[in-house]
Each structure stands twice: as structure tokens, then as C-alpha cells.
Symmetry: D2
């Protein structure tokens, strides 16, 4: 996002504010817990995104900058080996201190310091890092929501987060197959003024055969048919790893689904609700998406097919699994230094997801955005569309 | 403790109050976390002891009693299979809800209900169960303190709990060997009016050979000599299991000890402090106590030797490891129903500790009290004295 | 066993021969496998007992002794840290080499060397070590049989070892309660000329209350009643650890039992056979023995009760679980050097078994013998008798 | 491979014979062990490839066929869920029976039955299945060699398999960069008469940018430079998963390498040998190949780049890691029934390797062959070439 320093600062302040708004419905206790390794306590997210600005901007560009607390770099570094040792990730939920109030103080201190720094003029590269830092915080806003959902959704009291949150917008139109002709397509971000991550580059040519892609996401109702047809018990539909996963974890339905008294319910940010078959399916793994497609005699699109056709369908409520592994584009160059640890080092056994979700903040999605997770993850708002 | 119903109720109220007083220095966040399986969140302790009164007294003896919350029995049962299913122990720290405020409300509700019930006259067996419930809460007061120490002592910020807490009272007298003659000794609680647990009965005869037992606990200074003599590296001093434990867990010193800049420090409830060699050693496993004794060419006393000699020495600041396995006394009868799950079912691979500790509440220690833990546990205020 | 050097050598040769006789029915393949950590490949047993003689006698007392192979000390040491590093126990079954033929060559080499050494006169302490070595080999003869049974009994083809092996001798007499009067009893081995292990010493006084002990082992038929009464599903009968073990391992019957077409079968060294209800029960854990006794309203005897009464009943076909933890006797001194690693270092979380089993070699049982295992082990020929 | 029935049978007999020839240097014991989950005992390989012919051909096409042994389908099925339950893979090494002799009898029985069946005329689809079965056995011939190497190479005695086996053929020519022009390339097997697996189809277009690919494999000498430059300690060179793998497994060099007295040695099928820096590197994971390329400022080729350039360089001694994930080609159709479990169900988290190795049998390599393994595997003869 090309922006004058002033615009950049107001984008920064707006983003800082958004994170705190997301946490408004929380009790102090909700900020602390970590029910599973891959979920972080909300207070950790709030502090970690703050640490990013302190570590990569204030320490570097602000003269005589005093860190807020000498131990916070150790506590709130996530995975940047270049910056030093860090507290072990699965133990984030063991820490009652610093308190939530101290973390809000930390946030405000750093926000003010950044504002002051940028009011005085900074090098272009500081602006670039601030831009990355803002987008980094936006990514964590999405994780804040999905982690809060995990924390509440795994509490037997099923607390509500916000009744008004629209989690499952119905796609109220008929299913159709969009036809795309074979040919060479340009894939990846245009080298323009808009922000993008290194993994969206270089823009390059990909040959695609003729294909068809659905204009609509798979719905709960369609997935219930798959369950009722014993799709979870037919090994021929599953990858070998998926079948092992399903048996080890005793998976028989999407995450947050509960079968009670003959009916399906799902935990949503608005509480436990009866499932609406017309709503788009959510919280499924790649394994489940693949098995469903096998059962239909269809397949998932590749990320290239998705990108080449995305202007012809509506997207944005689900991160959509693709058939593509997360790999570097031709000519990929990872960024220098710690920022280079952002993307490239995960390009080995993850799947690409395209689109965006109901939890994605404004100004944080674009047609070339590549999200990625291991194929077994389900706590994001994941869904899929079919291709053939 | 022989007490009229009135005395019993004031004993109850005093005990309820004590638990809350222990938690005074805590922030909300401190009530929530569970850094390791065997440590419970403080809010869980506060709720669990309350549940005990609700489950075993109010539900049974109070007419038309309305439970405070329908899910709390599931959430706050610890290990009483007779009462129904329970939330999985290592996941207690995953629950942000109910909040701390709700749990205090629960406490006050149940306290009031018990007070009201007992003001009107109850059967003798309700009084007996209340007595057990009070002692049960006292046991959890000790655990509250040791669990809070664990939570703070494993936080890299090392927060203080209470500067005034006297954790390491020096035994300011010379070491002497108390000689005890061989003969038949009576061991176990006298069937008197004083409360005791089922595992302290039946009182029975034990033959003891001549032995000597130290009048003084082993000190930090003596233990540092053991460390400096490479006691942690000489497998001949250790049990086979102890040696495996030490290597697997990379143990080289007592829990909460830190070696910095050539000096030993220990985390205490008053913060991180330089170690005083004259203070009694604490936070060691049975394995370490045994290895130290081997290194000295001495041994630990059995629980019978300890009990037969205990009136001749000062005890009460450390739970003292003994050479005895936790086994039933001749004629042991476990209590009927759920209360019978209290002691007997653990009599298989644990060690007996005798005495009491700085964390033990008033009126909760006596010469025949048998505490018990697996030999590797160190988070209690454990120490030992030598015998030969 | 008091014996002249000549008698000792013939005792040695007879014992060496016995081990090889036990392996006669094996195919080469059977010598190699290790289906579970605590079972060793038969070829390992044959080599390990040989290594004991080489390490503790030939290297020490035979001038210019040439070891058979420089790597065998590393490969065939079991747990003697004093002797040096050793191959990791759970990986014994990974080694195809040395071959079975090489191990027999090793055996014969060492047997000959010992015979030659002792023909020329040796110090008394060499004779003592040889005596220990012979008893050590006898212990491994029992393990050879139980490990072979494990290997065959966990092969879906259920191969036979030896049709003629009498595994389940019926106790063809009525059950009676033997009454024993309270009083002081002497327990432990008499300091006589007969061999015993260090853990059977010192002989010491123990006070016993009045008790009754059964003259007969528990039978398969009685145990089937326990199963049919859902004894495996009633947590009140079990230790907490036992209940966790049973659920984790999905235990519903003794080891080697199979329920097919409405009938119970058991794998024996003579193959898979229908269970005879009159035969003594075998292959149960301490947990199961305890639960059965609870169900009967009875208990297991302590090791002291067993020893004080053992001359009044028939024993020798089952190792019998007792209620006693494996602990040192008063005045216990572990042997010096590596031999001292034999017993003492296991005195922490195991149970004592008394008696002997159908797999125990001749001259290797006595009333004071203390066998010991963790409470969950079942692959020995374990049984029990009741007391009250 | 288009072949008359007669040619096919002689191809079959030759292949059957090859497997037995590979096992000639083994002792009986060597056939039995399984030192790690992913290695199978040689006798299992010999039986499993035999079972394939019995299960998919004899049972289906031979009238009144009597299976050799009723339990062998359960014992020797690998991962074909469609065929029924199977013995758990990590427990293959627990089975001493059936003996090696019985397995050779099984082989000869099935070989004879197939020969007889095909002498009389069979449907075309039986011929097709036989062709697959032959190629399946050839794949297992490669695994036989790599598993034997693993068994011997992890035995502290380092037994030799065969002194004459040429494991490390030096590429005696200069390194050069082969330049390839950008454009559309056809990838995948031509639908001709030659045999190929389903994963090599459909042949399809791929756009490639300009690239350069090395004419030569990376050598031991080059890799030693990487080690000496502390490549194993610089996290910036590694994938996040690779770094975790390296630290968890304590990896500091390729598999089979040993550093003794200041020099590098490697275990080969001819025994332990000093490393020759000019020989091609072997037994490295994808993670290591990637880190080496990062260190060089270069990269691995994709499988498409490899295939498009392969006629310009020499290949065949190492399976070569590529930058490509193992994914279906456009239009991929998995084969029907059990045979369809061969390839498709693994297309989720593995990497493609191209080429062939010194262990690959004759007639079992071609330019379009896609081998695949998880990125951490090293026991195959894996190497790599660089691209840019």
C-alpha cells in the first residue's frame, strides 16, 4: 500500500486499535490460556505483534530507545532465530505474568513511540518495515479470532464471544461450473505499489489445461451427505496419512460439530447453534476436503487454477484448500535478515490455501495471497470449492 | 477433633477463610495457569474443595438443595470415579471459564448453605463428612501454596508471592544422633477423639532393631558438598530408576536452584535469593535423598523409626522422605463409598513422607500423619533426616 | 551351596549344559527376535551369562586371558554401569550378528577356559564369584523360558515349544485356611553354608498379627468368575495406577488368554489349549491379583507372612505376588563393585514375589528367595494365594 | 513392456531369481531383524512380493487354487486395506516364524503356480497384473539392498555384505552448467508400449523459465566443506521442519558417516571405508540437500526441470531429490481396486526423487519414473544435483 508517512501512521494506529477491539469481549482469564500447542494465548498475540515493532523498528531507528522490559524480547519472540533465544512455544500458556494490564501498557508505550518516531521522518526502509509490521499484526488479528474460538469452543461451558459476529454467510445463488480455457496464465503478484509478501513473487507463467471450477463453496448440507454415506469409514477416499490421522485422532466430523439427540450442532462465536445446511462448510482439514472430492468423483483446484479464475466467483468467507503444495515460485528470493524467516522456511510440507475468511481483517486479502498450513489443521475458517 | 456442631462450623468457616487469604496476593491471571500436569490452577483448588462439600454433604443432607451450576460437578471432581465422569486433569489449565469471580461466588454460596444446614442439626455422619471436608480443604491449602510456588518459580520473571513468608527456618542447634533401643513399638493413630485418615489405622506392633536418628534436617550446605563431590554423576549412589530419571530429566540440583556467576540461588515465595547453607534443604526427590544418604554411608529412617522417635526431635518445616513404601497397615479398612477413594487406591508405588511443612496449615499435622508421593516429585517442601 | 572346587565345576558344567538344552527346540530365527523391551532374544541370554563369567572371573583371575571378541563386553553387558558402556537394551533384537553359531562358539570357549582355570586352584573369592555366576545363569534360564513363551505366544502362528512341558500342575486337594499365631518371627536367610543373594539378608525379627493363609493357589476357574462378574470394569477394586494401566493397555484378561467362540483358551509352551478351570492361574499382574482379592473381600499375604507359613503349604509352580514392596532388610549391605548392582538398586518401586515357578531350574529356589518385578509385569509364571 | 506371454514368464522367472540372488550373502539371522519401523526384515520382503502374485493373480485366475498357508495374507499384506487386515508394520521384526526355509518354500510354490497358470493362456488383464507384480518385486529388490545396508550399518560389528558391490561410482568429468531455454515442455510418460506407473501419467505441458542444471552430482568432498563451514549449525540455511528434525535427531552428518581420529569414514555394503571426496554424496535427506543448496546460493531443480534436461546428463547412481512435492499430474486417474492403493494415496507430504540408484534393478528405471519419500528419509541411495 503506497502511502505517505502520514497515511502510514494512521493505518498503523487503526490497526493497533483493531486488535484491542477484537479483545473487548474477553475476561482477563480468557487472555491467558493455551489449550493446545498451535493456539496462543490472546495476551501473547497482543504482546508479540508489539514486540515486532520494538525489535525491528524502535531498536534500530529510534535513538536511545529504552525497551519497555528487558525480558519481553525473550518472552514474545515467536520463531525468529536470528533475534535470539525464545520461550518455548507450547509453554506460552504457563505464564500468568506479565499481566494483561502490563501488556496493554506495553502496547501503548510502543504505539506512542512509533507514532513519535514516524512524526519526525524516517528512512524508507523503516517505512517498509512498518508496513510489514502492520500486515503482520493483521495476520495475528485473524489468529486472535480463531484462537479465541478454539479456547471457547473447547470449554464445556461454550461461552459466547459475540452474538453479532457473522461467521457463516450463506451463498444464496445456484451452483455453476465456470469453464476456463487451456493456455498460459500469469500467476503471482504484479510488481506494483500494493503491498505483498515475498512468497507471492515472482510473477510467472503457468500452463493450465482446460478446467472447470465451481462458483460456490461446499455447504454443510453437502458435507452431511458425505458423513451419512460413511465417508469417514471408507479408506479408499483418503490419503494414507489422512487415514492414519483420522484413526489416531478419532475424527468423525468437522471441528466444532456435535451430534446431539439426532441433530448436528456447531459451536460458533455466537455460541452453540443448530447447523444450517445452506451455510458454507468450515473447519475441515485438507484431508477431509480431499476425501469429499474423491467421494464426489471430483477434485480440488490447484492454486494456479484458483488464481486464474478467481475474478469469476465470489470469495472471502473461507480460506479455501487447494491441491497445491506450498513451494517457492520460480525466482523466489527470501527477504534478508530476520524478516526472511517469515515465509520461505515453511516451504516443505504444507498446503496452499487461497482466498480469505470471515476473520480476515479489512485490507488484508488479495487474489495472489498465499496462506499455508499443514494438511491436518482445522481451527482456521477453512472450506473449499470443487474443480474438475 | 472432638467438637460440638457449633465448634465444627466455626472450624469450617475459619478454614474457608484461610483458603481465600492464601490467594490474596494473586492477580487474576495467576489463578488460571497449569504449567505441568501435577500442578492445578489455584481457581481449580478453590472450586474443587467447594465441590466436595456440595457433592458429599449438601446434595445428600440438604432438602431441595439447588446446585450452584449444573456443570461444576464435572469440572471440579478430581478423581472420584464413584461420583461420575470428570474433566481430564492435565487440561484444567485450558479453562478460562468459569471466571475467578464466579468461583468466589460459588464458594460463598456453598459456605452459606453449609452454615445454614448445620445451624439446624444434622446427623452425626454429616458432621463426620464435614470434618473430612475441612481436612480435605486444609490439604489443598498446602497444595495451593506449592502450586503457586511452582507457577511463579517457573516464570522467567520470578514474581514474588509474599516477602514475609518464612520458608526456610534455620535449625539453630548442633547435630546429634538420637539412640533408640530395639523392641516392639506401637505404630499408628490411637482410636481417640482426634481426627485421622483411614491410612493411619489400625494401630499395631512393629519390631525395631537398635537405631540412631538425626535430631536435625539435612541442610543446603551439606547438600552443596554432595553436588561438589559429583554426587549427581556417580551411578553407584542411585537407584536404577533414579539414575534413569536424572538422565532423562537432566537433573543436576534441587528444584528451584539456579547457579549464576559462581553462586547458588533459589527461588522462594519471597523471590529469587542467594542460598543460605545453614537453612534446611528443600525440594528434593526421594531419589536424591537416597543418593545423598548412600554418599554419606548412611540411610533414611523407615516411617516406623521416624514415628517411634519423633517426640525426641523437632519437626514440621519439611515433609521428610522415609525409606518406607506406602502400604496398608495390618487390618486397614478403606472407608465406604467415594470417600474410600481417598487413600487406599494409591498404595502401590509411592513413598511415605512424615512430618509436615512450612506450607501445612495449623491443626493439620500429627505424629501419625502419612503423606505420600511418587519418588520423583519435588514440588512439595520436601527434605529429610538421616538414620543409621 | 558348600562345595569343593570339583563339585563347583561340575555344578557349573551342568548349568551351562542346561541352558543349551532349553534352547534345543528353537530354530535359528527364534534366537534373534525381541518383540518387546523387557524380553531379550534367546541368543542374547546365552551370550550375556557367558560374558558374566568372562568379565568377572576370566579377566580377573586367568593370566594372559584373551577375550573371545573385543566387542562382546559392549554387546552383552546388561546393566552393570561399573563395567562400562553397553548396547541399548530395547535394541538387542536389532542385531543379526554375531550369529547363533558364533555365540555357541563363545559359550564353549568360555566354558573351557573356566574349567581349565578352576582345575588349577583359584582364590576363594573366585569360587564365590563362580557360584554367583552359576546362579545368575540359572536366573536367565527361567527368563529364557518366559521370553521364548512371549516370542511364540505373540506370533499369530502360535508355534509349539515342547508338548511335554508341564506348565500348569493341578493342585489336587481342598482349599483350607492355615492359621498362624501372632508373635515375633525370624525372617531372612540363615547365615549358613547355602548360597543366597544379598537381598535375603540380614535375618531379622518381624512382628506378625494373627493371620490365615490359603494352602492353595487361586485357579483359572475362580478367576473366570471374577471376569464374569465384570471385575475388570469395577474401578473400586483397583489401585489408581492399576486402573490407568488397564485402560491404557486395554486389559480384559490374563496374558496369553484368548476368547474364541464362547470359550477361553490360553497359549502354553505346548501350544494353544482350552483352559482347564482347575489349573492354577498364571500370567497376571500384581494389579490383577490385588483386584481379585478385593473382589473376594480378602487380601494378599505380605512376604513375611508367606515366609513364616511356607512350610505348611506346597509351593513352587508360580511365582506368588505378595503385598510387600521390595525394600532392604534392616542392616542390608549391598555387595561391593559391579556385583553390588545386582539387587539393591532396584529397591524402589517393585513388588516382592515369593516361591518359584515351573520355569525355575532345580537348586534355584528356597524359602527366603525374594523375586521382584514392577506391578504391571505378567510374562513370568505369576500367580497368588489369598490371606486374611 | 509389451511382451508375449512367453517373454513375460521369462521376465518373471528372471526377476524371481534376482531377489534370491540378492539374499545369497545373508545368514539366516539377517533375514529376521527390523532395526527401525521403515526397514522390513528381508524375509518379509521375499514373502510380501510373493503374496502379491498369490493375492492378485492366483486367487483370481487360477481355478481351485490352494493358498500356501491360510495366515500368510494377514502376515504379508503391506498396506492394501482393500485386501483385509494386516500385521502391524513396526512389528514385522517380532516374528521368528515362518522360518526362512518356509518362506523359500512359499516362493517356489507360488513361482511354479504362476508359471503353470501362464503356460495355459490367461486374460490380458492377468498379464497386466503380472507385469505390475514383476515391477513391484523389482522395487522391493531395491528395498532389500537398502534395508540390508541399514541392518548391517547399524550393527556395531559392521558386517560386510559384498566386497564387489560398486556403491559409489565416481563421475570422472568436469562440472558444467547445462543451459535450458524457457518454453513449454511435455512432461510424463508417453502412452506407448513400455510399462509405467499411474503416477507418470498423463503426459502434459509445463512452462519452464530459463534455467541451468549441473551435469554432475554433488560429491562427498563438496559436502565436507559444507560440514566444515558449520552448515549444520546455521538455522538460516534450513527449513523450519528441517531445523527441528536436525536438533531432535542430533544430525551432524549424512547417514552411515563416522568421524574417527580426525577422518571421515562411511559404512558401505563392502564394510567401513575411508571416505573418498570424489565419490558422489549419498544418504542425505531432502532437508540436507536444500540446506547445502542454500549455502551455495543455488537451489535444487524441480522434477520438471530434471526431466526436461535429463538426456543431457548422466544419471542412475543416486536417487536425486528435487524441489517438487509429490502431487498428481493433471488428469491423474488412480487404478481401480487394490492396485489403486499403490501411488495416489501418498500424494500429500512427500518429495519427488528422480533418476535411479546403484540399487535399482535393471529394466526398472526410465526418465519419467517418479520416486517419492518424506523429506527426512536417508536410507535410500539419495543424492542431488544443483540448479539455478
Amino acid at each position: 500500500m503506497q502511502t505517505t508517512a502520514e497515511n502510514l501512521v494512521s493505518f498503523f494506529l487503526e490497526t493497533r486499535n483493531d486488535s484491542e477491539r477484537i479483545c473487548k469481549p474477553l475476561e482477563i482469564e480468557d487472555y491467558v490460556v493455551q489449550p493446545v500447542d498451535f493456539v496462543s494465548p490472546p495476551k501473547w498475540h497482543l504482546a508479540h505483534v508489539t514486540w515486532f515493532f520494538e525489535e525491528f523498528i524502535l531498536k534500530k531507528y529510534k535513538k536511545d530507545y529504552q525497551v519497555f522490559h528487558k525480558d519481553f524480547s525473550y518472552l514474545f519472540n515467536s520463531y525468529y532465530n536470528n533475534v535470539g533465544k525464545m520461550w518455548f512455544r507450547p509453554m506460552r500458556g504457563n505464564l500468568s505474568r506479565p499481566t494483561v494490564h502490563q501488556i496493554y501498557d506495553y502496547r501503548h508505550y510502543v504505539t506512542d513511540q512509533i507514532e513519535e518516531l514516524f512524526s519526525k521522518g524516517v528512512p524508507k526502509e523503516a517505512e517498509d518495515t512498518l508496513t510489514i509490521g502492520i500486515h503482520h499484526e493483521k495476520q495475528h488479528q485473524e489468529l486472535l479470532l480463531t484462537d479465541i474460538k478454539y479456547i471457547f469452543g473447547h470449554n464445556p461451558l461454550f461461552p459466547k464471544y459475540d452474538d453479532a459476529f457473522v461467521e457463516n454467510p450463506i451463498q444464496d445463488f445456484d451452483r455453476k461450473w465456470i469453464e476456463v480455457d487451456e493456455g498460459l496464465y500469469e500467476i503471482g503478484h504484479q510488481d506494483s505499489d500494493e503491498f505483498c509478501y515475498d512468497n507471492e513473487l515472482e510473477r510467472h507463467k503457468v500452463w493450465l489445461n482446460n478446467y472447470k471450477i465451481s462458483n460456490k463453496l461446499v455447504t454443510n448440507g453437502e458435507y452431511i451427505e458425505f458423513i451419512d454415506s460413511h465417508g469417514y469409514r471408507d479408506f479408499n477416499l483418503w490419503h494414507s496419512d489422512g487415514w492414519a490421522w483420522l484413526n489416531r485422532e478419532k475424527i468423525t466430523n468437522p471441528l466444532y460439530w456435535h451430534f446431539k439427540d439426532g441433530e448436528w450442532f456447531q459451536y460458533t462465536l455466537g455460541g452453540l447453534k443448530k447447523i444450517n445446511p445452506n451455510e458454507p462448510l468450515s473447519h475441515i482439514s485438507y484431508y477431509e476436503a480431499f476425501a469429499f472430492a474423491q467421494w464426489k468423483g471430483l477434485r480440488l483446484p490447484t492454486e494456479f487454477e484458483w488464481e486464474a479464475a478467481q475474478h469469476q466467483f465470489k470469495w472471502g468467507s473461507r480460506w479455501e484448500w487447494t491441491e497445491s503444495a506450498y513451494l517457492p515460485y520460480p525466482g523466489f528470493q527470501k527477504a534478508a535478515g530476520a524478516i526472511g524467516e517469515y515465509n520461505g522456511k515453511f516451504m516443505v510440507d504444507q498446503r496452499v490455501l487461497r482466498g480469505a475468511s470471515v476473520a480476515t481483517p479489512a485490507k488484508h486479502s488479495r487474489p495472489t495471497y498465499r496462506n499455508f498450513f499443514q494438511p491436518y489443521h482445522r481451527w482456521q475458517f477453512t472450506g473449499f470449492r470443487l474443480a474438475k
